[in-house]
Amino acid sequence: MHSVMATLRLALAIFLASALAPAWALDAAQARAIAVGEGDARIAALQAAVTRGDPGLAAFAQALLDDAVKTTATGVFIVRDDKAVDAITGQPVKLPDDAEDVSNNNRLRGALQAALSGLRLLSPDLPTRRAAVDDLAKGDADPALLPVIDKAIGREADATLKSRLERLKAAVQIAAPERTLRLQAIQQLSSSGEPTVRALLQARLAPDAETDPELRAALGHAVAQVDARLAWGERLGVLFTGASLGSILLLVALGLAITYGLMGVINMAHGELMMIGAYTTWGVQNLFRHFAPGLFDAYIVLAIPASFIVSAAVGAVLERGIIRFLYGRPLETLLATWGISLVLMQGVRSLFGAQNVEVENPSWMSGGIAVASNLTLPWNRLAIIAFAALVLLATWLLVNRTRLGLFVRGVTQNRRMASCTGINTTRIDTLAFALGAGIAGLAGCALSQVGNVGPDLGQSYIVDSFMVVVLGGVGQLAGTVLAALGLGLMNKMLEGLAGAVLAKIFVLVFIVVFIQKRPQGLFALKGRSAES
C-alpha cells in the first residue's frame, strides 16, 4: 500500500515537473526560505514564489508535502526512494551526512496544498487548469490565492474557464472589507448557475454576514438569478428521469403489447420472464468475470441476445405446454399465468436464493455527462433510452415489414381466414408468444443495469406495465409508446409535487378516469376487428 502511494506521488511529481518546463528554476535562496525558518516567513516566501510563478515550485511544494525534503546549511535536497537530487539543479547528488529533515505543521501543509492548486491554475495544460478550478470551486477559496487567481485570469484563453475563474475570484472577494469589491463580487456571482455559489450567496445573507442594506438587496437579487438558472437544470432533470422511466415502461410494455395486444393473452408471468432475462444477464456477467475478465466490459454484448433467447425459449415452452389450451378464455389465462409466475419466482428462489444478486455495470456505463451544474445524465440511463428506441424500432420492423409480422397480424385479425390461406396458425401463436417473452427478457437485461435483480423483480413492474397497455390501447405500437412515455413523465412530474407514493396513486386514479372516456385506450382499433 505504502509503495503504491509513493509511486503515485513520484508519478505526480514527475508530471508536475514536466508540465512546468523548464523545471528547477527556483533559486537556492528562495528554496531555503520556503523550507527553513519561522512558519510565517516560510508561508510568505511560498506565496511570493507562487505569485512569481516560479517553475519547479510545484514539484518542490509536492516534495515538501511528502516530507521528502532535507536541508543542510547551504543546500536543499529532495530524497525519494533513498536517492537524493539537488532541489535547485535537479541533478542526482550524494546526500550530505548532516542533512536534516524539514518538518511542516498543519498550517504550512494547508498553504502548500493551496499553492499547488494555485500553480495548477497556471498550467499550460487546459484539462489540468479545469481540474484545478473544479477543486478550488469545491472548497472555501483562500484569500491568499487571490494574486494567483488574478494572474490566471490574465493569462486564461479559454472563455468558459476564464468566467469561472472570475467567479472564483468573486467568491473570495465577497467577504472583502471594501464595499465596492463586495458589490462587484455579488454582481459577478449572479451570473453563475452552480449550487455551491447559491449556498455561498445564501450564507452571506445571514444576519451577521452582510450588513449593508443595499448589498443585501443585491444579494437577494443574485440568489434569485442563480435560482432561475438552477431551476432549468431541475426541469430538465425531471424531463430526463421521466423519459428514463418511460423508456423502461416501454421496454416492459412492448412485450405485453405483443402477447396481449396482438394475441389477446393476458400474461401475468410477463414480469417473471423479465426476471429470467435479468438473471441471464447476471449469469453471462459471471461467466465473463470467471473466464474472460479482460473482456468484462463487453459482457453486455452477449448478455442481450442471451437474455432474449432464454426468455423466448421459456415463453415458447409455456405457450406449447399451457397457454395454447386457454386461447379464447382470457380470465382463465390470467389465473393460469399467475400460477406460472408463482412457480417461476419460487424456482428462481430455490436455484439462486431469495437474496438479490449483484449485476455490475460495464465500466463505460458508470458516470455520466454533466449537462448543467446540477444535472448529470448517467450513462446507464442514457443507454437504456437508446436501447428502448432500438428495441422499439426492431419490433416495429418485425411486425410491419416481415413475413412473420404479416402472419401475426393476419392471425390476430381473422384466425380462421388466415388458416384458410395456409398459415400455420398454431406455429405463429408460439412464435409470437416467444417474441413477446423474448422482449420481456430484453427488458429484464436493461433493468439489471439500473435496479436490483431478485426473484421479485417482475412483481414491481407488472401493474405499471398493464397500465401502459390499458392506456395505450391494444393492437397498436404507437399507443404503447405514447402511453409509456406519458405515464413516465406524468409520474416523475407529480413526484416532484406530491411525493412518490401519492404520484403513483394519482396516476392510477387518472387511468381509471381516463378509461371512462376512452374504454379502448388512446388508439382504439376501428372496424371489424375492434369488437372481437
Binding site: L335, V343, Q346, K504, L508, V512, Q516
Partner: protein, 378 residues
C-alpha cells in the same frame, strides 16, 4: 361466452324453501358443528383429552371461515355474473381496518406509551386523532363503517366502470390497480392507519379481553353463523329472478340488454353486495387473527381469493366454501411442513384448475355422482 353452468330451472316446489331436504340437513349440521360441537370440544373437554379441539384449530377454522365468506362473495360476482375482480382484498382490508380502528381505541391506556392515542400516533408525535378516527371510540359507528366504506367505494368505482361498459380482462386489471393504489396509500404513515405495520396488539373488544377463551369462542360462533347466513343469502339471490338475470348477464350481456333489462343496475348491486360481504369478513377476521396491515391489499392476496372460488367450483355456492377450506388448509400444512414448496403447489393449483378442472372440486363431485347414478340405473 361463458357457459360453464347454464341457467337451470329449479322445480317449482323447491323454490320457496331455498334448499331441498338434504340441503337443509347439511346447513343444520353445519350450524350444529360451529355453534355447539366445536365450542363444547374446545371449552368443555379438557386439553389432554383426544377429543379436545385445540385453540390453534379454532383460530385456523375461524380464519378460513372469513376467507370462505370472501370466496362466496367472489363467486357471486365471478361465478354468477361473470365479472372477475382482482381487487376484493381491498374491501376485505377496509372492513378489517374499520374494525381495527375500534380495537386500537379499546387498548386505551394499556399501550406501550400509556397514552390515549394509539401507539403508532405517539411514535409519529401526533397530538390529536385525525378526522378519520372521529367515530373510532364507538362500536356502532365503526360497525357502520365496516359496511359503509367498502360499500361506498365499490358503488363509486363500480358505477364508473360498469357505466362505461368496461368488462372482461380490462375490468380485472383496473380492479387490481385500485387495490394496488390502496396498498400504496395505506403504506404511508401520513394516511393515519399505522403505515406498513398496520394495527396489532389488540387487547379487548366491547370491554371484554380478547385473550379469554370464551371471547374467542363467541367470535368463532359469530363467524360461523355469519358464513351460514351469507350462504343462505347467496342461495336466495341465486334462486330469485334477480339471480337469473345475473346469470343471463354472465352468459350473454348484450342479449339481456336487448330484452329490456339494464345490466348496470344488476351488476352494480351485486358488486356492492359482494364488497360489503368482504368488508364484514375482514371485520370478523381482524379480532381473531390479531393483526391488519396493508399487505392484505396486495394484488397477490386478491388474486388468491379468485383461486379459492375456482378450486371449489365457480357457479356453485358450496364450491367456494370448500375451495377456501381446501386451499387454506393446504397452505397452513405446507407452510409448516415444506415452506419452500407452498408456492409451487399454489402455482400448480392455478394452472391445473384452469386447464383440467373448470368446474373445480364440485365438478369432480358431480361427475362421480352422475357416474354412480348411471351404474345404478344399469
Amino acid at each position: 361466452m361463458n357457459t360453464l353452468n347454464p341457467v337451470q330451472l329449479l322445480p317449482e316446489s323447491r323454490r320457496g324453501l331455498l334448499l331441498g331436504v338434504r340441503g337443509w340437513s347439511v346447513v343444520i349440521g353445519a350450524l350444529a358443528v360451529v355453534a355447539v360441537l366445536i365450542p363444547l370440544l374446545n371449552l368443555a373437554v379438557p386439553a389432554g383429552n383426544p377429543l379436545h379441539f385445540g385453540d390453534y384449530g379454532v383460530a385456523l377454522v375461524a380464519k378460513i371461515m372469513c376467507y370462505a365468506m370472501c370466496a362466496l362473495a367472489m363467486d357471486l360476482v365471478w361465478g354468477y355474473t361473470g365479472i372477475l375482480s382482482l381487487g376484493h382484498g381491498l374491501y376485505f382490508a377496509l372492513g378489517g381496518y374499520a374494525m381495527g380502528m375500534y380495537l386500537m381505541r379499546q387498548i386505551g391506556h394499556d399501550g406501550n406509551y400509556r397514552s390515549d392515542l394509539p401507539d403508532f400516533m405517539v411514535f409519529l408525535d401526533w397530538k390529536t386523532l385525525p378526522w378519520t378516527w372521529s367515530g373510532s371510540a364507538s362500536f356502532a359507528c365503526q360497525m357502520l363503517l365496516v359496511v359503509a366504506v367498502p360499500g361506498a367505494l365499490a358503488a363509486v368505482f363500480g358505477w364508473f366502470a360498469f357505466r362505461s361498459r368496461i368488462k372482461g380482462v380490462y375490468f380485472s386489471i383496473i380492479t387490481q390497480a385500485l387495490t394496488f393504489a390502496g396498498m400504496l396509500l395505506f403504506f404511508r404513515n401520513e394516511t393515519g392507519f399505522g403505515g406498513n405495520n398496520g394495527f396489532t396488539d389488540f387487547k379487548r373488544i366491547l370491554g371484554v379481553p380478547l385473550a379469554l377463551p370464551s371471547t374467542r369462542m363467541v367470535l368463532f360462533v359469530l363467524t360461523g353463523l355469519m358464513l351460514i347466513a351469507f350462504y343462505l343469502l347467496a342461495r336466495a339471490i341465486v334462486n330469485s329472478k334477480y339471480g337469473r338475470v345475473l346469470q343471463a348477464i354472465r352468459d350473454a350481456e348484450s342479449r339481456v340488454m336487448f330484452t329490456g333489462y339494464d345490466p348496470l343496475r344488476y351488476k352494480l348491486s351485486i358488486w356492492v353486495l359482494s364488497a360489503v360481504m368482504c368488508g364484514i369478513a375482514g371485520a370478523l377476521y381482524v379480532p381473531q387473527v390479531g393483526i391488519i396491515n396493508p399487505s392484505e391489499m396486495s394484488p397477490a392476496a386478491s388474486i388468491e381469493m379468485a383461486i379459492w372460488a375456482a378450486v371449489g367450483g365457480r357457479g356453485t355456492l358450496v364450491g367456494p366454501i370448500v375451495g377456501a377450506f381446501f386451499v387454506n388448509g393446504a397452505k397452513s400444512w405446507f407452510t409448516q411442513a415444506f415452506p419452500e414448496f407452498w408456492l409451487y403447489f399454489l402455482g400448480a393449483l392455478f394452472i391445473a384448475v384452469t386447464l383440467f378442472l373448470p368446474h373445480g372440486i364440485m365438478g369432480i363431485a358431480n361427475r362421480l355422482k352422475r357416474e354412480k347414478g348411471v351404474e345404478v340405473k344399469a
